[in-house]
């Protein structure tokens, strides 16, 4: 993985996915004084949320890290020809050591769905009227408005406009109103401003949250397709400050060379 544009907090996060994670990360986390919360802790969400609403509030982080978002069945994304061509050009440029522009390298927001697969913590806070996602990545946030409709006119954004409702134990989130300048994933699939993303989020057990998301974008893909990530319960994790604009680099090695992953 080449992640040179990520600042130092991400450097630490990536170590969490490596074998030496425990050695490096745990001393920093010793800041935590409270007993770590347990799943379903009512103290993690607004007290006015009805007790019957599934409790998904708390800190989560993607299990494993795969920068390539693909259909669940392992097939390739059903790109339209222009999108496939762009994707292949991008892969070739990276293989040649001359990677193409990635908007997050210029500190633009990752956007949906890319941030679902990002290897950084996400905190969910439920209120009676919203489910709010707080991301360590670029200190972004996203508000899912429960029981609301999208407005007739939406100012396009990277994270889109999100409305949601509960279907039993599953939170269904419908997002639209996107700019066309973000990528589907770090690998580089593109999308259009017509994109709509439907997420189905549910607890597999108290330790994990499944986020299944369907990408519907007739101007970029030949058919809707569905991918999935699993987020793990991480009561041991607290946010670091992630400031992309500070232009931090991954720590150089003993020879002064920036590290690649």
């Amino acid at each position: 993985m080449s992640l040179m544009h990520y600042p130092s907090a991400p450097f630490v996060r990536l170590l969490q996915f490596s074998s030496i994670a425990g050695l490096v990360v745990i001393p920093v986390l010793a800041l935590a004084v409270q007993e770590p919360p347990q799943p379903n802790d009512p103290g993690l969400r607004d007290r006015d949320v009805n007790a019957s609403v599934p409790n998904i509030s708390g800190m989560w982080q993607v299990r494993g890290y795969n920068r390539y978002i693909k259909p669940e069945d392992g097939s390739l994304p059903p790109w339209l020809p222009w999108n496939q061509q762009a994707f292949e050009e991008r892969a070739a440029a990276e293989a040649a050591g001359t990677p193409l522009y990635d908007p997050t390298a210029a500190c633009f927001p990752s956007g949906i769905p890319r941030i679902i697969a990002a290897p950084y913590p996400v905190e969910i806070v439920q209120t009676p009227d919203e489910v709010v996602f707080l991301y360590e990545t670029q200190h972004l946030f996203r508000v899912v408005h429960l029981g609301k409709q999208h407005p007739a006119v939406i100012e396009p954004s990277s994270m889109g406009h999100a409305v949601g409702h509960w279907e039993g134990d599953t939170l269904v989130v419908d997002s639209t109103g996107f700019v066309d300048t973000t990528q589907i994933d770090e690998q580089g699939s593109k999308h259009s401003a017509q994109m709509r993303v439907i997420e189905r989020i549910r607890k597999l057990d108290n330790g994990s949250l499944e986020v299944e998301f369907t990408i519907d974008d007739p101007a970029a893909f030949s058919k809707p397709w569905t991918a999935k990530r699993v987020w793990e319960w991480r009561p041991d994790v607290r946010f670091y400050e992630y400031v992309c604009e500070e232009n931090n680099r991954n720590a150089p090695d003993a020879n002064g060379v920036l590290r690649n992953f």
Binding site: V132, F141, E245
Partner: protein
């Protein structure tokens, strides 16, 4: 939060008035009486200013060193060459983000209160009922390290650990990395407004601790939008 939240508040208050005499002995009511006020929701600053002043409207009590730092920031601003950090979209940080005119969403839980600023999508994580961390054990940041606790109807937030590159306001009121901030937040005007009284302690730059006060209006129904500082460069 929004309209339903306000309705819920007033309905609860009305219900409480009717039922309290008969429910005083019940556990539920005892718990309800102990709950802190609900400051969750959307708020927006009423008294936006580019230059922070004390509660008496005075310039903060700058020391000689503080005056020099302030004068340098003011001069840079006049020459249209503000400090680099004030123009390249790094977070405005604490407390400057609190002085932004954009809406602010407060997420209130028992363990943590999060201030979600539309302005530069800044997040402040306030961990409840924890001691102020050891200044030597934390990394300096734009947002600082904040802990909070309730004193009656008032949320008290202590913040330390502020990065050298932030300033208090748009004009460049300076601070050192030793500054500590104590904020006292409480509902006023029957919950329609939120008052934030902030006290700053920073002996190198200020000869005495000083205090300012800002007030937010409740803005039920307002949705935060995506603030894109970088995108503005395309307009230049």
């Amino acid at each position: 939060m929004t309209t339903t939240r306000i309705f819920r508040r007033s309905a609860l208050a009305a219900l409480a008035t009717l039922l309290i005499p008969s429910l005083l002995a019940t556990t539920t009511n005892v718990q309800a009486a102990e709950l802190p006020p609900d400051i969750g929701g959307i708020w927006q600053l009423t008294n936006y200013t580019t230059g922070v002043r004390t509660v008496d409207g005075q310039l903060p009590p700058l020391t000689g060193e503080g005056k020099a730092a302030y004068a340098a920031n003011l001069a840079a601003r006049k020459q249209m060459k503000p400090r680099e950090d004030m123009s390249r979209c790094v977070p405005s940080g604490t407390p400057r983000a609190m002085f932004a005119p954009n809406p602010l969403m407060i997420l209130q839980t028992a363990r943590k209160i999060t201030l979600v600023q539309e302005y530069q999508h800044q997040l402040r994580h306030i961990y409840m009922d924890e001691p102020v961390p050891d200044p030597d054990a934390i990394e300096l940041s734009f947002t600082g390290e904040s802990v909070g606790h309730w004193e009656g109807d008032t949320l008290v937030i202590d913040t330390i650990g502020l990065h050298r590159d932030t300033v208090l306001d748009r004009e460049g009121m300076p601070h050192t990395t030793d500054m500590s901030i104590k904020e006292r937040l409480r509902l006023i005007e029957g919950g329609k407004q939120l008052e934030v009284v902030m006290s700053f302690t920073d002996p190198a730059y200020y000869s005495a601790p000083w205090t300012t006060r800002i007030v937010f209006d409740s803005k039920p129904g307002v949705e935060l939008t995506e603030y894109n500082c970088l995108g503005r460069y395309e307009d230049l």
